[in-house]
């Protein structure tokens, strides 16, 4: 049973990591805490849902669409909204993101009502067993693999491409980057687009595993926060470590103390990590 709990925790952690990876990128590069992150995940989930409900498109096909659509949306939001206030204090961007969150959630609520929806695919609850003790849900394994793929893709983009160099330069020194000819506004927009695109991917997987509704975003933003903080900023490994740490502690914690203690456990860990290692498990001491 302990093994099963460990597996549950690891797989949930994979999904957490996928949720948080985009938030971590945006936060790390632009110092924006994207409160609307969960809302973007919701939009990704609904993209998949509608493509499935109307066209019967398989979620793994629509994954590409939801990433692309969310990338475009993220690009636009940054370019034509957030960039206008980016030099004001970090607060201002935070509240702007809050406004965006309210806007997206309620636009979704008005257009789609608060009904709970579910992408009902045949393989949604498929599983396989290892021995007699451990049952492993297939989709969660896929989610786990996907987060690794996306992390590698992000790693590649950031470290091996010109775009990545621009992003890193901009994140270190905005004015210097501009001086050496980086189109800062565009770089920011692309970064935000990438982060939100990753949220779209998380949304697609979420929609296969869980029911979705326009008001699902807030909770996911909170979880992503926790993951980003535990893992620390500035590394593609951070969200994975953070996600796994959260997933596993939650799994064992809720097993031992009961599920109502789940939030108590994760937020206590959050606060402790911040106090003891403010830069995350991976980050340096100071």
């Amino acid at each position: 049973m302990l093994l099963q709990i460990l597996v549950n925790g690891i797989l949930m952690g994979g999904l957490y990591a996928l949720m948080a990876i985009g938030m971590s990128l945006i936060w790390g590069v632009m110092n924006i805490i994207n409160i609307a992150h969960g809302s973007f995940i919701m939009l990704g989930a609904f993209t998949t849902y509608w493509l499935f409900a109307i066209l019967g498109m398989d979620p793994f096909v629509s994954l590409a669409f939801s990433i692309a659509l969310l990338f475009a949306l993220g690009y636009g939001v940054q370019r034509y909204l957030i960039n206008y206030v980016i030099r004001a204090s970090a607060f201002i961007t935070l509240i702007l993101a809050f406004g965006i969150e309210i806007f997206i959630n309620n636009a979704a609520l008005v257009s789609w009502t608060a009904d709970i929806r579910k992408v009902q695919v045949a393989y949604g609850a498929a599983n396989f067993s290892l021995g007699n003790y451990v049952t492993i849900p297939t989709i969660r394994v896929v989610a786990f693999l996907l987060v690794i793929v996306i992390s590698i893709a992000f790693f590649y983009i950031l470290n091996r491409t010109n775009l990545g160099r621009s992003i890193r330069a901009t994140s270190q020194d905005l004015d210097a980057a501009r001086l050496v000819g980086v189109d800062v506004a565009k770089t920011y927009a692309i970064t935000f687009g990438l982060g939100v695109g990753a949220a779209g991917a998380a949304g697609t997987l979420w929609s296969i595993l869980f029911p979705i509704s326009p008001i699902m975003g807030g909770e996911l933003t909170l979880k992503s926060f926790v993951v980003v903080i535990i893992g620390g900023l500035g590394s593609m490994l951070g969200p994975i470590i953070g996600g796994l740490a959260l997933g596993i502690t939650e799994a064992f914690g809720t097993n031992w103390f009961g599920s109502t203690y789940g939030n108590l456990i994760s937020f206590t860990i959050l606060v402790l990590v911040l106090i003891i290692r403010p830069k995350g498990i991976l980050g340096g001491a100071d």
Binding site: W27, L81, N83, R87, A88, I95, I102, T260, G262, V271
Partner: protein
């Protein structure tokens, strides 16, 4: 100079007089609405002490609200104490909690502090949901105030008004005392503040405790007014966000900024919800976005600089965009 001060005092006194007399000519709902505005004005002003003046963006200030409310509930319901006792206990209890939590958490800066306080509030909510004495997630009743209907409305309105005046008055005194200088110095540059001899830990903790104290008082009155508390709403992140939005909207780091913010945000959202049953929150989001883009320095900046119109908006955008 003196003449100007006199002018301000007259205008201020006049507004205060209107506010004090306003319940006498209004229906109960308007009084209740006014009470809510005052409550948010207290909380936004209290947030302003730590967030606006000291520069520590607390994202967990609702924890003081919840603690104040629950202390009141437990003392009145379980221990049968008088509201006056519970009210004071709520303020001091929240302040004490601020000190305890502030000592470790105030060592963090920027976003990290914000998230840590958010974590504290969420953890506290989860704790209250699991405690026996708070009756867990099913919520706790409070005794109801034994006055005539009108009397109840007056009571809560004037309690909130009194608490708000106390908050603003104390904030004003603090600002003009040495403590105020130390808080702003910390906001502007904490290392420099430390090197000019400011015990930054002490100053920050006092600021956090003051913030907690007033928020706790607001929570106490709220709990008594509602006569029922549940952890979810009492510790809702949304409440913190609302305090911050109000402070920023009105102008943070300004004495009357949060007050103006609370007043205008509540009026706007009330008006919208009167006309649009469902879409009002959508419009509210739009208002927040527009306000942040065009007036990031808050309404009070517009009022004090006497700048209105498109040129002011564009000036702001030019200043902050890339």
């Amino acid at each position: 100079m003196e003449k100007k001060k006199l002018q301000y005092a007259l205008i201020g006194g006049f507004i205060l007089l209107i506010v004090v007399l306003f319940p006498l000519v209004s229906n109960n709902f308007i009084i209740r609405f006014g009470t809510d505005i005052l409550m948010f004005a207290i909380m936004a002003s209290a947030w302003n002490i730590i967030g606006g003046y000291t520069g520590y963006a607390s994202f967990g200030n609702v924890v003081f609200f919840g603690i104040g409310g629950y202390i009141t509930a437990i003392l009145m319901e379980k221990a049968g104490m008088h509201f006056a006792v519970a009210y004071l206990a709520a303020g001091f209890g929240a302040a004490l909690f601020a000190v305890l939590i502030g000592l470790p958490v105030l060592r963090l800066h920027g976003h990290y502090f914000a998230i840590a306080t958010l974590g504290v509030a969420e953890a506290m909510k989860a704790l209250v949901q699991n405690l026996e004495i708070t009756e867990g997630n099913s919520g706790i009743y409070l005794p109801m105030l034994d006055l005539s209907i009108k009397g109840q409305y007056y009571f809560f309105f004037y309690m909130m008004l009194g608490t708000l005046i106390l908050t603003l008055l104390l904030t004003y005194l603090v600002l003009n005392a040495k403590l105020g200088y130390s808080l702003i110095a910390i906001r502007e540059d904490e290392d420099a503040a430390n090197s000019v001899g400011i015990n930054t830990t002490l100053s920050k903790t006092i600021a956090f405790a003051l913030s907690g104290f007033f928020t706790g008082l607001a929570g106490s009155i709220y709990a008594y007014q509602q006569a029922f508390l549940k952890p979810g709403p009492a510790f809702s992140v949304q409440t913190t966000v609302k305090m911050i939005v109000m402070a920023v909207f009105g102008g943070m780091g300004k004495l009357f900024g949060p007050l103006i913010g609370a007043f205008s945000i509540e009026i706007i959202s009330e008006t919208l919800s009167n006309y649009f049953l469902v879409a009002h929150t959508l419009f509210f989001g739009t208002v927040v976005i527009l306000a942040i883009v065009f007036t990031p320095k808050g309404l009070i900046d517009m009022i004090t600089q006497r700048k209105f119109g498109i040129s002011y908006f564009l000036e702001n955008i030019r200043e902050h965009r890339i």
